[in-house]
């Protein structure tokens, strides 16, 4: 069964500090991984897909198949980054593309 683990419920940093939100997954196939963000009172928005290898709002995430991790990083946190972040995994081609989400990490960036 596929599983996504976000070990931190809450991450609190000061503005300008580096941020790393951890995500570990368990899945025997080739995963498709995402990071979603939910700002206060807004809908979930896609932040990153591992396939696209983009940098969105200064965030990056690298898939490490050896460690089965997809940690989200940003070198300098901003107050507007305060939000709930969810890591998600979807099965590779051939599966039914059911997304499984982690429990989320609340990021608070203090001024």
């Amino acid at each position: 069964a596929q599983r996504v683990t976000q070990p931190e419920k809450l991450l609190s940093v000061f503005k300008g500090a580096p941020v790393e939100l951890k995500c570990n997954y368990s899945y025997s196939g080739s995963p498709e991984l995402f990071w979603y963000v939910q700002y206060s009172r807004q809908r979930l928005q896609l932040l990153l897909r591992h396939i696209s290898r983009e940098s969105i709002k200064g965030f990056t995430a690298d898939l490490n198949k050896g460690e089965t991790s997809f940690h989200l990083k940003k070198p300098f946190a901003q107050e507007e980054d305060s939000a709930m972040y969810y890591c998600a995994l979807s099965r590779s081609p051939g599966g039914s593309y059911i997304p499984t989400f982690g429990r989320g990490t609340s990021l608070i960036v203090h001024p």
């Binding site: 979603y36 809908r43 969810y86 997304p99």
Partner: protein, 113 residues
């Protein structure tokens, strides 16, 4: 702008009522999903559908059913609402082509009293 629209932002229902939550997407997506979102538990999949009239149980289907009569619409039904179904309900959709990620609606906050 692509859209997933959930008909109600807030709902208050009584225990035992039959409740319908509606979700409509305008992106011609094949796949649609219903989640409930609870603090500390993240998003848990209730049901999903990969085509019209097709449905599959997710991780927590008990007490819920769904209907997908048209491609753009996916309804979640609480047959007899209970207080433990008080939650935020999120609808999502995605194309089979998987060009983008999953697109979410803004959610329906359901309170069962």
């Amino acid at each position: 702008d692509v859209k997933v629209t959930q008909s109600s932002r807030y709902l208050v229902k009584r225990t035992g009522e039959k409740v319908f939550l509606e979700c409509v997407q305008d992106m011609d997506h094949e796949n649609m999903f219903w989640y409930r979102q609870d603090p500390g538990l993240g998003l848990r999949l209730i049901y999903f559908s990969y085509d019209v009239k097709m449905k599959e149980k997710g991780d927590i289907p008990e007490g819920y059913s769904v209907s997908r009569e048209k491609k753009e619409r996916f309804s979640l039904i609480l047959e007899s609402a209970s207080t433990n179904q008080t939650s935020m309900y999120l609808c999502a959709s995605r194309s089979d082509r998987r060009v983008t990620g999953y697109t979410f609606g803004s959610g329906t906050r359901l309170t069962v009293v």
